[in-house]
């Protein structure tokens, strides 16, 4: 027998309280019909005996104590899935909004997912070639990794994400057709969502994209469901349909703020900056859904994008994200202002999984040594710059001046590249060696001699013969 419960006992923010409810289960979905005929959905978030607290996804506007009929659905939130979801557009709660009708489900899956058994995980080792020098060389993206972009408002994170999605190449044979993108927009403006859609369309991949859109004017509580729906779709495609899925989630900061709003309306004790104490666990329950599992061909790779309020990397959202994800790509405001695209701040960026996915058999044997050396040398550039800002460039020692020169070239030629420029890993690595050749060989203390002889020496000689002056002009031609 299906019972409708008439009216509610209490309304508080997005929460309604019902009393005398029998047989409800925790986190069950309820349908709420208003007297005007409109339907809303909610989820049970707290229970005490027959008193239940329901979170209404669409918000409580228009609900009064007497104008609703609530019906229990008997199930937790599930997403209907089939291979047809490719090319479709859904709202943040997983309902189609592209006018193409409902999904005829092959399977329904709980959007909360289940944790992957660590024993069943395959340690990710295959790299994804993104065609972006800084990422491929210094923070290589690995299939099954979660690598967020830490950005700020107004920086070109969206362009970078699109470029990665467009250029990402999986290096195995025969997996080209198996690649798809799941895109989750949380609290971004319509323009941004439209930019992503248009870019996917232009590069001809739109039929391989599933979009979940919760734009900035959509209900906030629905936002807490959006990444879960997207990841459930991604897991389905990856582990049931054997596809390689790249999940782009933007903007995680809006997601966390939605969670904060929900938490405070429930009256929970706030943690840092008002975010709930379980923000870490909650973010982890999203990010940890990346990976590969034994016996399945597919993979889920995540690129969450988050804007750091006030460019502050110690803000709880980027901070906790950094502790969960396997590295981060940090964008830098001053590089962005000086016109460098992509404005990747090299030193704080990192990929934790790259060490086992690069080198001989994956990329090239000198990769690890080169990236080490580039990081170390670029760190010295920073020292030289801070010294120069105190005592002036003129007073620097000759070697420090060389570092300044190297830093300039590195940013203009290596970090900077065109939004449509797709560099192969070979090109990127060679470019790295070439730039290092503006430093004397004795400064390259992270590389052993065999590698230096093989990869560095060709550039070293070329550079030694003419005077130092012609390096910048050479660079000028290449920077776009």
């Amino acid at each position: 027998m299906i019972l409708d419960y008439i009216g509610v006992k209490e309304i508080n923010g997005s929460l309604i309280v019902l009393d005398g409810v029998k047989g409800a289960s925790y986190e069950e979905i309820v349908d709420i019909r208003l007297d005007d005929g409109s339907m809303r959905q909610g989820r049970i978030v707290q229970m005490e005996g027959e008193r239940i607290v329901v979170q209404v996804f669409e918000g409580t506007r228009g609900i009064s104590l007497g104008n609703t009929r609530t019906r229990l659905r008997g199930r937790p939130m599930e997403l209907p899935l089939s291979p047809e979801i490719l090319g479709r557009v859904f709202n943040g709660a997983g309902r189609p909004i592209d006018g193409l009708g409902a999904i005829f489900p092959q399977k329904k899956m709980n959007i909360n997912g289940s944790p992957i058994n660590p024993v069943s995980r395959v340690y990710p080792r295959n790299y994804i070639n993104t065609g972006v020098s800084t990422i491929d060389t210094l923070m290589t993206l690995i299939r099954g990794q979660k690598l967020p972009i830490f950005s700020g408002s107004g920086m070109s994170h969206n362009e970078l994400a699109v470029q990665i999605a467009r250029q990402a190449k999986i290096t195995d044979e025969g997996s080209e057709n198996n690649f798809a993108i799941v895109f989750a927009a949380m609290g971004v403006s319509n323009d941004v969502a439209e930019y992503f859609r248009r870019s996917f369309d232009e590069s001809g991949v739109l039929q391989k994209v599933v979009m979940f859109l919760n734009l900035s004017n959509d209900p906030i509580i629905e936002r807490t469901l959006t990444p879960r729906c997207a990841l459930t779709a991604a897991e389905y495609l990856a582990f049931e349909q054997n596809m390689h899925i790249l999940v782009i989630m933007t903007d995680m900061t809006s997601y966390a703020e939605a969670l904060r709003e929900f938490s405070s309306s429930k009256g929970e004790i706030p943690g840092r900056k008002g975010f709930p104490g379980y923000l870490y666990s909650d973010l982890a329950s999203l990010y940890e859904r990346a990976g590969m599992v034994r016996g399945k061909k597919g993979s889920v790779t995540q690129i969450p994008i988050l804007t750091m309020p006030n460019d502050d990397v110690t803000h709880p959202v980027p901070d906790l994200t950094g502790y969960i994800t396997e590295g981060q790509i940090v964008l830098d405001r001053s590089l962005d202002n000086s016109g460098v695209y992509p404005p990747v701040s090299v030193l704080p960026s990192l990929s934790r999984l790259m060490k086992d996915g690069i080198g001989k058999g994956y990329t090239r044997e000198d990769h690890s040594a080169l990236q080490n050396q580039l990081f170390a040398s670029y760190a010295k550039v920073m020292d030289a710059r801070s010294l120069a800002s105190v005592i002036g460039e003129e007073e620097l020692s000759p070697i420090d001046k060389k570092y300044l020169e190297f830093g300039k070239l590195f940013e203009q030629q290596f970090v900077s590249q065109g939004p449509n420029e797709n560099r192969s890993i070979e090109e990127s690595l060679n470019l790295g060696w070439k730039l290092l050749s503006s430093l004397p060989r004795s400064e390259l203390d992270r590389v052993d001699d065999a590698i230096l002889d093989k990869y560095f020496a060709p550039y070293e000689e070329k550079n030694a013969a003419p005077s130092d002056d012609d390096t910048p002009s050479e660079g000028g031609g290449e920077a776009k």
Binding site: Y26, P76, S120, T314, E326
Partner: protein, 587 residues
């Protein structure tokens, strides 16, 4: 017989039971029809509060709660090693096989240890023997290198009335029957249960005087840890906490490694599984997994089990310590554990103290770290537990409560530094803000086993680094060119120490583990160059000449150029330094 009640309220992992007098504090219970594991954490006359170790989605008020009558405990017996458990000792491999799924479902009811496996047991007692708690009554090879010793539970003693013959037994088979003073018979199998929140008793704690040798130069030389000691590794994300923990787990000279991945990444756990299976222990020629236990509560696994995972880990560690082994426990990361405490505390609506953490955070941390130590066990062996806990401070700010409180209860502090990590200086242990309080305890051991020089060299190295630190303040303001030559030399030699000695490459076959003898000789060569160069400079030889000789760069690469098994090559270095410098003087 079962004491039973029904669910009243549900809020995340916290479930309440109304008007119940059934359960006792810290009792383990099964919640709901799916029998989810939980623990009683609060009792008032109206509400009993249960923390549930699994997802509570789908539970209904009115479903049953079953009591077990005993506190949250783990099963101790053969089969623990070479295994991977979740936070409450459920075997993840067996769960994966049984459920035939890559995901963890709820309510899996798989026993902790493989009860079907046969062990080759040798009984070490005979009828009529008097046994007290902790005494060993049987032994079996648990893996190729570790012999498992079955011990009488600490709270039991009596006379052996029946002994099974040597042979193959399952872990639940009775092998010895014990009659206590009251005449009650107790059957002893190969395994026993122990509550995770209660430390296992020992006879006496000893002063730790033996170092835990890690093969990592910055640790062994500058900030050593004793066997039975405690260390904290704080560091922001990306500074290499996990990497350092992995290196220590792989190379430290403990017999047993307990690695607790507490709220960390799933991919990291699979990396540990892969790497440890491939890594061959140099001493025994067997894979590392033969002496390792992994406890994995990845960050998306239930938060309540995260709180328990640390206790599960330390209880397993104590069990092996009691057999007379030296155990090293890595906890990565204790901040996640503290956050789990905070999360549960918040759900219980307790009054928060600093930054929302409960007021009992320091006492919980202290309780945990105090379970480390070098002890005389009940059966007359000696064993130790060293705890190395990673701390992930919020916003890399070391003044937050978890770091500060951990600092109070650990005696080594290996502070990881963001700037070093950015420059890819690994291990990124900052030599000015880190410390070890074990110097005085360990110096006699170093003097006896590595030589008095070792201590002397260490002090020199330390003072050069301190001196460099002060000079760098000046350099940052006015550049290094203005310094007099003797100070330039300090900076140059400190660079050799930093790059050539403190920095260590975990991926280099020789450099990943360096024996103490080589560490000492490396210091010796570096200090020799320093001494000679200083003599030259005081004789007004310009430093540029010494730098151009390439000696400094050569010493930087010494760690790669000299294999670990050829210490005699260091003499060639000393000769070369002497000759090269002489040539400079004569020129």
């Amino acid at each position: 017989m079962q004491n039973q009640d029904i669910i009243y309220g549900i809020n995340g992992p916290v479930v309440t039971v109304k008007n119940s007098r059934t359960f006792s504090m810290m009792e383990m219970v099964y919640v709901g029809k799916e029998r989810l594991v939980g623990e009683i954490i609060g009792i008032t006359d109206q509400l009993t509060t249960i923390q549930v170790y699994e997802e509570t989605t789908g539970l209904r008020p009115g479903e049953p709660v079953y009591g077990t009558g005993s506190p949250m405990n783990v099963t101790l017996g053969p089969g623990i090693l070479d295994n991977i458990f979740d936070g409450i000792e459920r075997p993840l491999k067996a769960i994966a096989e049984e459920s035939n799924s890559s995901f963890i479902d709820r309510g899996s009811n798989v026993s902790s240890l493989d009860e079907e496996r046969l062990w080759d047991v040798t009984l070490t007692v005979k009828e009529g023997d008097q046994l007290k708690g902790g005494d060993i009554y049987a032994e079996c090879p648990e893996t190729a290198i570790i012999k498992h010793k079955c011990m009488v539970p600490p709270n039991l003693s009596g006379t052996v009335v029946k002994v099974a013959p040597n042979g193959k037994y399952k872990s639940v088979d009775e092998v010895v029957t014990l009659q206590d003073a009251k005449g009650t018979l107790h059957s002893l199998t190969l395994c026993q249960k122990w509550p995770i929140r209660v430390p296992r008793p020992v006879v006496k704690r000893r002063q730790p005087v033996v170092p835990l040798i890690t093969g990592q130069r910055v640790i062994d030389t500058l900030f050593p840890i004793a066997k039975g000691g405690t260390a904290a590794i704080p560091g922001g994300f990306g500074t290499g906490k996990t990497m350092t923990q992995h290196q220590l787990a792989k190379w430290c000279d403990a017999d047993i490694i307990i690695y607790v991945g507490c709220g960390e990444r799933g991919n990291e756990m699979s990396q540990v599984l892969d790497e440890f299976a491939e890594l061959i222990d140099p001493k025994s020629g067997r894979p590392m997994t033969d002496r390792t236990v992994l406890i994995a509560n990845t960050s998306n696994m239930p938060v309540a089990a995260r709180e328990a995972s640390i206790y599960t880990g330390i209880t397993l560690a104590e069990y092996y310590r009691d057999m007379g082994y030296h155990v090293a426990m890595m906890a990565d990361s204790t901040s996640r554990w503290a956050e789990a405490l905070r999360e549960i505390s918040g759900r219980l609506e307790e009054m928060p103290a600093e930054e929302g953490f409960p007021a009992y955070l320091p006492s919980r941390l202290a309780e945990f770290y105090e379970r480390a130590g070098f002890v005389d066990t009940l059966n007359g062996n000696e064993g130790s537990i060293s705890i190395i806990g990673a701390v992930s401070p919020q916003g890399s700010d070391f003044s937050e409560p978890v770091t500060q409180n951990t600092k109070r209860f650990t005696r080594c502090f290996w502070a990881l530094d963001k700037a070093l990590a950015y420059a890819r200086h690994y291990p990124a242990i900052n030599w000015t803000s880190s410390y070890s309080e074990y110097f005085n305890d360990l110096d006699p051991w170093y003097a006896k086993n590595v030589g008095e020089d070792f201590i002397k060299y260490r002090k020199r190295i330390n003072s050069i680094l301190q001196e460099e630190n002060q000079l760098m303040e000046i350099v940052k303001l006015i550049g290094s060119d203005v310094l007099p030559d003797d100070q330039k030399l300090v900076i140059e030699i400190a660079r050799v120490i930093r790059v050539g000695f403190l920095q260590q490459n975990a991926f280099h076959p020789d450099d990943t583990f360096v024996p103490l003898e080589k560490q000492k000789l490396m210091m010796k060569v570096i200090l020799h160059l320093y001494k000679k160069a200083r003599q030259l400079i005081s004789a007004s030889v310009p430093i540029s000449g010494i730098i151009e000789s390439g000696l400094f760069d050569k010493l930087v690469k010494m760690k790669y150029d000299i294999p670990n098994n050829k210490p005699e090559m260091f003499d060639d270095y000393i000769d070369e330094i002497n000759k090269t410098l002489e040539a400079i003087v004569n020129a």
